[in-house]
């Protein structure tokens, strides 16, 4: 990693999801330990019922963007826009001051509903009747594009798609941009849309989901308890060096970023420096084994929590875990669903790690600290 002592500060957070809109609503859900899933009275073409889901409401977006400007913008991009605007608002950065802002959007699946709508137009009417608007809106980078247009952010823009490791990958680039002084601030976030075909029909085909289940049981590693979620989680990061006059106190600093392959035992050993470990366990059987082995290796050494019951199961869930970790540092309080019954919590909370596994066993780990240290 860099040998420069650079501080990557989290200046603001913004999120929308099944828990509601904004970080206050997120904290309420975290304190409660879950968000209530919605049941839709719908069926798939083969007659199978829809599963409960944690859906996002973007009606607050019109506080920031004129309704007419949203005319062609689909739910996927609306969630991202709302997340971005909320993070800027939280950081106290006016949306008129974004010309040099870097923008990075991470998404696991992209604009799935619009992609499906495009297929509908072709299947229903023929190749010559494909909708050009749907096609343009189905490209992954459409969310970043609309952020750039609405904010007049003319700096670098990146959209990253890496399934469960998307936000970790995106942060890798954000940190590079900030450390190399390419931009002073980055609006970085993740967005994923729940789509009935992918997150419902396909899940039921692959992993025998129980339709009666309405809550994620993240530490029950024997069954599929995932509830599909959707939403956007954005952060405003800034580069602070020793000479920066502080302004607002940041939520914390990003002090560690790692991804790749590692044995759970090694990961466990590397994680013990944290005061809390936020596991990305979200009720998916495909990753249960990795989390359970890690938890077993860690024992009761540090508190393990999962925040997924509050926002659902989605590839970019780790972005919500990151915001939860930032809120924990701010509030000096552990949020989420705890793994063990006896949780020794260090006081004060100084370092929190968020760790996410992909089904193939790869991991992505992000560490936040309340004190800026040498980035490692």
């Amino acid at each position: 990693m860099s040998t420069e002592s650079i501080k990557i500060a989290i200046e603001g957070v913004g999120c929308v999801g099944g828990f509601g809109c904004g970080h206050t609503a997120f904290v309420s859900a975290l304190q409660q330990g879950y968000a209530k899933a919605q049941l839709e009275e719908k069926v798939h073409p083969d007659g199978s019922a829809f599963l409960p889901a944690l859906l996002a409401d973007t009606s607050r977006l019109t506080d920031f963007v004129a309704r007419r400007a949203l005319r062609r913008i689909d739910h996927y991009a609306r969630m991202a826009l709302l997340g971005g605007y909320l993070a800027l608002e939280d950081a106290g950065v006016p949306s008129s001051a974004c010309e040099k802002l870097g923008v990075i959007v991470a998404s696991g699946y992209g604009a799935t509903t619009t992609t499906i709508n495009f297929l509908d137009s072709v299947i229903d009417n023929g190749d010559s009747y494909a909708s050009p608007t749907n096609f343009s809106n189905s490209v992954h980078n459409v969310a970043a594009a609309y952020l750039s247009m609405q904010l007049q952010a003319l700096g670098p823009s990146l959209t990253v798609s890496q399934f469960e490791l998307s936000i970790c990958a995106a942060l890798q680039s954000a940190v590079c941009w900030l450390e190399q002084g390419r931009v002073d601030k980055v609006l970085i976030g993740a967005v994923d849309e729940r789509n009935a075909l992918l997150n419902d029909y396909c899940w039921q085909r692959s992993a025998a989901s129980d339709g009666a289940n309405t809550q994620i049981a993240p530490f029950d590693y024997r069954r599929q308890s995932a509830i599909a979620g959707e939403g956007a989680a954005f952060l405003l990061l800034s580069r602070r060096d020793d000479n920066t006059s502080c302004g607002n106190t940041p939520y914390g600093y990003i002090t560690g970023l790692d991804s790749g392959r590692c044995t759970p035992a090694q990961l466990a050993a590397d994680s013990t420096a944290a005061d809390v470990l936020v596991l990305g366990a979200d009720g998916q059987l495909a990753t249960a084994d990795s989390y359970s082995r890690l938890a077993a290796d860690l024992g009761e050494v540090l508190p393990l929590v999962s925040c997924a019951p509050c926002y659902g199961s989605l590839p970019t869930g780790q972005a919500f875990d990151l915001i939860a970790a930032a809120l924990m540092l701010r509030d000096q309080c552990v949020y989420g669903v705890a793994a063990g019954s006896k949780q020794l919590v260090n006081s004060p909370l100084r370092t929190i790690s968020a760790l996410k596994f992909a089904p193939d066993g790869q991991f992505g780990q992000i560490t936040l600290s309340s004190q800026a240290g040498v980035y490692a």
Binding site: P45, G110, A130, H140, S148, V160
Partner: protein, 406 residues
């Protein structure tokens, strides 16, 4: 300014050739290997020509369940194989280092599952393999997993500038010390969704494309992949490799913030990208690079009215005397792979000290002050610019170089 990032090896596969050498040879012979129609069925009244890869790709199958990757991932693996082989790095030695993978794509991350979806809509129980294939085919993850690397992975989905952004991002990782080596590039396949989508936007040409020409009527889609093995100079030394094939000297990008499908009329994002790329870089001997040192420009040059007009405008302002061309008349528009294929081509053109004619150009457009080269053109100089413009207003530029002649 940052030290140059070394290119230890390159792999490239596209319609013009199954390897980088073959592709450049065929371009210098003015060959255009396009098909009058795609191999998949389509109900358009007139088919749109495309630039397919003809090589039978090795089937890189999972050992279990006989799962195959999407064609995009296969193309990426082909290019990655070539690049590693050309670099001369022993794969076992590579695995002991921190190796990142950064790939650009469009189709490779999209749910191109038309047949599955059609069956689903009818209430059938379709085979799940297309969905599993989608989950398993993330281009960066595929390359990293296949070769057994341990390091950051990132698939960049910035539409048509993805390949350029992937190489630029990889260079940033190396400068930051995130990893020792990065395989960076892009891959994309021809498919019905993009074929229908571009036709719906009325920017596909029913003729072979004519970038920058007055009568140009749109783009032709293509497919392919390119991968560069990138490393810092000290790692090249540590691995006792031969002199690098070339260098990534600078990278810049900028957003138009203008429109989803049309470029900014004055190309403000492209101007920013080029300026940032130039400001970012030093040549191999540490001297700053200025615009007048560029030997040529490999443009985005898709053949659409809007792109070529805006690009021509920016070139006229920044580089009025520098020879330029588009290679999309030989490769088609390969979307997420384009920036990577063009970076590979640019490096090979620098080695050969020659650029091929801009295929398809006939008559100067009165609305564009400049014209591309119309015959194979020799030059002196060891630094060039490759640029990409994308839907959503992304613009990206790479300054590429080879060692100075001693």
């Amino acid at each position: 300014m940052y030290p140059a990032v070394c290119v230890a090896g390159i792999g490239c596969i596209c319609a013009a050739g199954d390897t980088l050498q073959q592709a450049v040879d065929s371009m210098l012979r003015a060959e255009r290997h396009l098909g009058a129609a795609p191999i998949f069925a389509t109900t358009h009244a007139e088919p749109y020509p495309v630039f397919p890869v003809k090589k039978e790709l090795s089937h890189y199958a999972f050992s279990s369940a006989g799962m195959r990757y999407m064609r995009t991932a296969n193309l990426g693996l082909e290019a990655a194989h070539q690049a590693i082989e050309q670099s001369g790095i022993d794969i076992e030695q590579l695995r002991t280092l921190k190796v990142g993978v950064c790939m650009g794509t469009t189709v490779g991350s999209s749910m191109d599952v038309e047949a599955f979806y059609a069956d689903y809509r009818q209430g059938a129980t379709p085979d799940m393999r297309p969905i599993d294939c989608f989950y398993n085919s993330n281009p960066a993850a595929v390359i990293s997993t296949y070769f057994g690397f341990n390091g950051p992975q990132q698939t960049i989905v910035n539409a048509c500038s993805s390949g350029t952004d992937a190489i630029g991002t990889a260079a940033m990782w190396l400068r930051n010390g995130c990893c020792d080596v990065v395989l960076a590039g892009g891959a994309d396949e021809l498919c019905r969704t993009t074929y229908n989508g571009f036709a719906a936007l009325q920017i596909s040409s029913p003729q072979p494309c004519s970038p920058f020409s007055a009568e140009r009527s749109g783009l032709n889609l293509g497919e392919g992949a390119a991968v560069l093995v990138l490393a810092r100079a000290e790692v090249i030394k540590q691995l006792a490799l031969a002199q690098p094939y070339g260098y990534v000297l600078g990278y810049g990008s900028g957003s138009d913030g203008w429109h989803l499908t049309a470029p900014h009329p004055e190309g403000r994002g492209l101007q920013q990208a080029v300026h940032e790329a130039i400001a970012d870089c030093a040549d191999v001997s540490g001297r700053g690079v200025t615009l007048d040192r560029l030997a040529f420009v490999n443009t985005h040059g898709t053949g659409t009215k809007d792109n070529d007009r805006v690009e021509g405008l920016v070139l006229a302002q920044l580089l009025p005397k520098t020879p330029f061309h588009s290679t999309k008349g030989y490769t088609g528009h390969t979307l997420g792979a384009a920036g990577a294929i063009e970076a590979a081509l640019t490096l090979e053109f620098l080695q050969r000290q020659q650029i091929p004619a801009s295929a398809g150009f006939n008559v100067q457009d009165p609305a564009i002050a400049l014209s591309p080269v119309t015959s194979n053109t020799s030059f002196t100089g060891n630094i060039a610019l490759s640029e990409s413009l994308a839907f959503g207003g992304n613009n990206a530029a790479l300054i590429l170089g080879i060692a100075e002649a001693s």
